[in-house]
């Protein structure tokens, strides 16, 4: 047993640490599955699953593990975050949303099931008057529709259950927010840290590239690309992730610049550590607090961008997202107003929650701010 462990350790040492070994193993296995997926069997995983596996490995190795390794510091930060009541509420709402997205689908109806007998049912506590055409008497008669416990949030004008649509939308928004932000921050961190550490020509090239990317109007570019390549959730996630890293890159670069000349970096260099080791083992862990804050604060923007895309009709037609429900609600505003109200409220609360948490984290990580 110890023998085998030692062998793993020696292999790890050869490729530059246990984290690097795990990363390489993940890349190889994902690559093999992707190749199998593409050439041999069709669809072992959907494209989103690959993103999940890759990102959770990276987050686990470079965010969760350092937080665990520095338990005392993490606990200290947590005490500081807890003093900000809004941040705690925000965190509570995000947890509720995650539970809703994970467990909700087992308890709600199919969000796409159309039933014209059950259309226009208002949410609990409301009744509406509707004029219905009566074929026998050939007249319009007023009919009262009352809420039913079967559809607590009511139904839309096609009889789809609003609660089911909201639950489905929560999953879509969280997926898009977390995955796209994960991609954007991975790229942003690498570019920012590399730019600051390597300096000189490399810094110049990377920062000019960032400037060029920043010059594009983000939302219009998104609309343009999705219009040309067609709406697909995984694709939308990729596009947002690949275009949204610029702000993070700049901030992380400026943070790293002050780290570059610190003694521990010098010492590591003097001991013969490679550039990639210094970047991954010394610089990245030291900007992790900034990365977490940036991530929390950029998730709302991403969620809103996806919702806006769905709202204008460029969302993935195979999933039910909040933006899409809102769009349907806007089109029947004079009859089923709740279909427009509920997804918007959820969207608003989600964005607010992430903003509160991000702000709380920023204050907690900032040693200068008195809490």
């Amino acid at each position: 047993m110890t023998n085998r462990l030692n062998r793993v350790k020696s292999v790890a040492r050869k490729v530059g640490g246990i984290r690097r070994l795990i990363l390489i193993l993940m890349a190889v296995s994902l690559g093999t599955t992707a190749l199998l997926d593409f050439f041999v069997v069709e669809k072992i995983f959907g494209p989103l699953v690959y993103l999940y596996i890759a990102l959770s490995t990276i987050v686990g190795l470079y965010v969760i593990y350092p937080l665990y390794a520095g338990r005392r510091l993490t606990k200290y930060y947590w005490v500081r975050v807890k003093r900000n009541r809004l941040a705690v509420w925000g965190l509570g709402f995000i947890l509720f949303l995650i539970l809703l997205a994970l467990i909700g689908p087992f308890f709600t109806a199919d969000p796409t099931a159309v039933s014209f007998e059950e259309k226009n049912i208002p949410p609990l506590g409301f009744t509406i008057e509707e004029s219905v055409y009566e074929p026998e008497t050939e007249q319009f008669i007023a009919k009262t529709i009352t809420a039913t416990g079967e559809h607590p949030l009511g139904t839309d004008n096609k009889g789809r259950d609003l609660l089911a649509m909201i639950v489905s939308g929560a999953g879509v928004s969280l997926q898009v927010g977390l995955l796209a932000t994960g991609i954007a921050l991975t790229i942003g961190t690498l570019i920012g840290v590399m730019s600051a550490y390597l300096g000189g020509k490399m810094d110049n090239i990377l920062m000019r590239l960032t400037d060029v990317m920043m010059a594009f109007p983000f939302f219009l570019l998104l609309v343009f690309i999705v219009f040309i390549f067609g709406p697909n959730l995984a694709f939308i996630v990729l596009v947002i992730g690949l275009t949204g890293w610029t702000g993070a890159a700049r901030l992380i670069r400026s943070q790293t610049l002050s780290l570059r000349t610190r003694e521990f970096v010098m010492a590591s260099k003097a001991l013969g550590a490679s550039d990639s080791r210094i970047i991954l083992a010394h610089l990245v862990p030291n900007v992790i607090s900034l990365i977490i804050v940036m991530a929390t604060l950029s998730i709302p923007g991403v969620i809103l961008a996806e919702a806006a895309l769905s709202f204008i009709g460029l969302g993935d037609p195979n999933v039910t997202s909040w933006g899409m429900v809102l769009r349907a609600g806007q089109q029947s505003l004079d009859t089923t107003w709740w279909v427009a109200v509920v997804p918007g409220v959820m969207l608003f609360l989600t964005v607010l929650a992430f903003n509160f948490v991000g702000d709380g984290l920023r204050d907690a990580f900032d040693p200068r701010s008195a809490l």
């Binding site: 040309i228 919702a307 806006a308 460029l314 427009a340 964005v351």
Partner: protein
């Protein structure tokens, strides 16, 4: 010495802007060409009803728009056309794209202008007030409300305003009336809801920027000196703090215009049916009218480029400190 330095800086910035503009052009061209569908497929959908042979029609269209030529030739003629101000033909509107944009840009412009004035004036005032009274109830209320303001999805806010003020109370019409003259009172009245929709997020952002810019300067030594000299608080805040806070503030407002406001105006126009460039592009998406979508994207990108360029140069000119960086 100072002049020649500035000239060099402007030349450098201009060169960079030209490179970015070229980058934008090229990326758009590549995206359209790499895309899974040929623009001709979409024209086809429109002529299919006329009973012609599809393959012949596609070939004819491709020949007419030069899509059958080698890529580098297409690229050169694309850039050449743009340089001459020829943005192509919009088949869904049956007019040149440039004429379409000339008739519609003003609606976007008035919306963005009025929203910026609305958000700028109110946002900066609240921000100043909030900073001067830091850590009081007013300050907490302003900070909390600005959080809510930046978190409200603006397209949803628009739908809610329509639901409340147009559908429930009937105070405003639910559609935008283009027959009204732009400077008439009725036109301003129908722009109230759209301006609130677009302006709320901007306003909340400006409150936060103003507050932090004011707080940065309130702690400076020259402010203490000014107070020690016995200057009235009004003069200290108005002259010594606000003027110094204004410079970074205006830069942020200008950059916001590009990154946030253009996207927001796009959605606001769609919600309220205002026939600006956003609405034009939205309609073109559903008609699969490539030329229009490309043109609106390019024009917005170029506008943002110019706005950022002007902001950068003005900032450098006005603030001597950053010249020596």
């Amino acid at each position: 010495m100072k002049k020649s330095w500035l000239r060099g800086y402007i030349a450098k910035r201009l060169l960079f802007a030209v490179i970015v503009a070229w980058g934008i052009l090229t990326v758009t061209f590549i995206l359209v060409r790499v895309g899974p569908t040929s623009p001709a497929d979409h024209y086809l959908a429109n002529v299919a009803a006329q009973g012609q042979d599809p393959s012949q029609v596609v070939a004819a269209i491709e020949a007419r728009y030069g899509l059958d030529r080698p890529l580098h030739q297409q690229y050169l003629s694309y850039v050449g056309n743009l340089a001459r101000g020829n943005l192509g033909w919009s088949f869904s509107n049956s007019m040149p794209v440039i004429a379409l944009i000339k008739t519609h840009w003003i609606y976007s412009f008035q919306l963005i202008l009025l929203s910026t004035i609305f958000a700028g004036v109110i946002g900066i005032l609240i921000g100043i007030f909030s900073a001067v009274r830091q850590y009081t109830k007013t300050d907490y209320a302003a900070t909390f409300l600005s959080f809510i303001g930046i978190s409200i999805p603006n397209f949803w806010l628009g739908v809610m305003l329509i639901l409340l003020f147009s559908v429930k109370f009937g105070l405003f019409k639910t559609y935008y009336d283009t027959s009204l003259s732009l400077l008439s009172l009725a036109n301003f009245r129908q722009l109230i809801l759209p301006v609130i929709t677009l302006g709320t997020g901007m306003l909340a952002g400006y409150v936060r920027y103003t507050r932090s810019a004011m707080l940065d300067n309130l702690r400076k030594d020259f402010v203490r000196t000014a107070r020690a000299k016995g200057l009235p608080e009004r003069t200290v805040i108005g002259k010594h703090v606000l003027r110094n806070a204004m410079l970074p503030l205006i830069t942020i407002i200008m950059f916001d215009l590009g990154s946030i406001v253009f996207g927001g105006a796009y959605l606001t126009e769609i919600v309220f049916g205002i026939p600006g460039l956003g609405r034009v592009s939205f309609n073109a998406i559903f008609a699969a009218d490539y030329a229009v979508v490309v043109a609106v994207t390019l024009i917005s990108a170029f506008l943002i480029l110019i706005i950022n360029l002007v902001t950068d140069i003005t900032y450098t000119y006005l603030d001597p400190r950053i010249r020596y960086d």
